[in-house]
Amino acid sequence: MTALLEVADLTVTFRTDGGLVRAVDSVSLSVEAGETLALVGESGSGKSVTALSILGLIAPGRIEQGRIGFAGEDLTALDEAALRAIRGDRIAMIFQEPMSSLNPVLTIGKQVAEPIWLHRRMAWREAYAQAAELLRKVAIPDAEARLDDYPHQFSGGMRQRVMIAMALACRPQLIIADEPTTALDVTVQAQILALLKGLTQEANAALLLITHDLGVVARYADRVAVMYGGRIVESGPAAALYRAPMHPYTEGLMRSVPRLDGFASERLPAIPGQPPDLAKLPPGCAFAPRCPHVHDACVAAAPPLHALDASRSVACHRHG
């Protein structure tokens, strides 16, 4: 059986003043129908660019090579009109910033109803009725009455619920959630994630959950792919990866996860050093300058992603 989403060897570049930036470099990942894949990595590792290129929304960036297979079609080969028919209908996306991701001059009802109006060719009145239903589903109190409200009348958490409702509107097969809770209060974060996970499961949709928080991964993901400097450095089942991380970067990320049992909600020290400048990547492993286990081979050549068994892969010379 082939996966619902099958990204193979994807490379995306941006032309900048500092040179050509390879934001995503030969990335391969797959998401099965109904499965949750977490894409984890520090800021600037290329998570959002990977997600946006699935929807074909990376302008001014360019897909240099690779294939994005979705339900048997190659999305990179589709024209703009065909992609538009998929966006918001079969693949929906939730963004990081609930404060700025909703249009300030349109009512919530209109924004949630819009994909239904667009893809289901429904009259606005019927689309509004469905929007009210969706808002109830994401547990917005008094949903019907709030259709006519504007985004500024909602709190951050409520707006992210609205975004989830909007994403679910056309019953997509795949939902991409790009750090959906990073901008929210810690207490609200858990509620929103639980809601998102519950509703995607209920709709039997696949979820590509982007996060830089491994704590989130442990609880909500089936499988994990770890990104560093535009590449996947490790991937595998969430439980196995959590129990025994293999890549030094993953180990570092694990150490910076706050303990779930304690009161400590503050973040523990992150991995020392800076994320790499994507315009000036070294020839060897991108993580080498920060790696505690670095040796000569790491500086000489970048390790390829290497399959350890059917489910786990890692790109590190220690496991070559």
């Binding site: 209908d89 909703l102 249009n103 300030p104 001059v105 349109l106 994909p115 667009l118 893809h119 909007m166």
Partner: protein, 316 residues
């Protein structure tokens, strides 16, 4: 809402009174006075005649007395009488204001139909040839004074093709087509000069709005670029443009004064110009009062339109 408008209108009162004081005093300070002109025209020159005319026109009083008499009249709706025609100023204003209003309104329509589509186009096609052409056009319109363009439009077609724009005014209600045939040329010139800044502002704001996160959300829904712009970007981009149009209101009125002169449109601009040449103080004060009031009302309308464009303002 009603309370808001009333409050705003009342707040205008001190501004208007202050502006009228400045106009009242400055008119009497510029060299040459109305009595000299009248004496010259009637071949009179004795001091006796001068005193008689001054007394008849009430100009023998000290300036502050004249002012308070005038402002007292204004508050009762009486703007005095023209020193030359002896007709009530209100009557002259009532005859000319609608004409200038029509010119301004037509110019605004021209300005918006030129500025908005080109501004949006320019933003969508940033840094293409079309964008450069549009921006150059707006720079040129910004640099060329409309009186110069007006003169060109008068002179060159008549030299080249023996055609010149209609210069005979016909009231709109008498023959709308004839009226528009006359008004359209000055309206286009005035509109074009007004469109320059509006176009640049529209372009800048659209570029700003198109970078916003909610535009990415709209695209991720699968909307076509046309719908993204029309439904999600335009209204957000237009909020500051409306302010700019309000700020340009005095420019519009100033331009109307000049173009009415060139194209012989018997509006308030022409009335003002004649009154200034003749030092017809009550008429001048009356025109400025109306202009000032007009500018303030336009700004009030701009503020009100925010409520419609921006829900955040509406809920405050």
């Amino acid at each position: 809402m009603q309370a808001f408008v009333t409050r705003r209108l009342l707040a205008l009162l001190p501004t208007l009174i202050f502006a009228s004081l400045i106009v009242f005093v400055s008119m009497r300070l510029i060299p040459g006075d109305v009595i000299d002109l009248m004496l010259a025209q009637n071949d009179l020159s004795t001091d006796h005649d001068r005193a008689a005319i001054e007394a008849a026109l009430g100009l023998d009083q000290p300036m502050h007395v004249q002012y308070f008499r005038w402002i007292g009249g204004v508050l009762e709706g009486d703007l005095g009488r023209s020193l030359w025609q002896n007709t009530p100023v209100t009557e002259q204003l009532a005859a000319t204001l609608p004409i200038t209003f029509e010119l301004g309104f037509l110019a605004l329509i021209v300005a918006l139909t030129v500025a908005l589509p080109i501004g949006v186009y320019s933003a969508l096609k940033q840094d293409t040839l079309g964008d450069y052409a549009a921006r150059s056009f707006s720079l040129v319109m910004l640099a060329i004074p409309s009186f110069w363009l007006g003169t060109l439009v008068m002179v060159f077609p008549s030299v080249w093709w023996r055609w010149s724009p209609a210069l005979e005014y016909t009231p709109f209600l008498e023959d709308p087509l004839q009226n528009l045939a006359h008004m359209i040329v000055p309206a286009i010139l005035l509109g074009l000069s007004l469109s320059a800044l509006t176009m640049r502002m529209t372009r800048t704001m659209m570029l700003e709005v198109l970078r916003q996160d909610y535009i990415r959300t709209a695209r991720a829904k699968g909307l076509s670029e046309t719908l993204v712009v029309a439904r999600h970007a335009l209204r957000n981009g237009l909020i500051p443009v409306v302010t700019l149009i309000g700020l340009q209101a005095p420019l519009l009125i100033g331009g109307a004064v000049i173009l009415e002169q060139i194209f012989v449109v018997p509006g308030m601009g022409l009335l003002l110009l004649e009154a200034v040449f003749q030092r017809d103080y009550p008429v001048i004060s009356g025109v400025f009062l109306v202009v000032g009031f007009g500018v303030l009302v336009i700004n009030l309308l701009v503020d009100l339109s925010y409520g419609w464009l921006d829900p955040k303002v509406r809920h405050q």
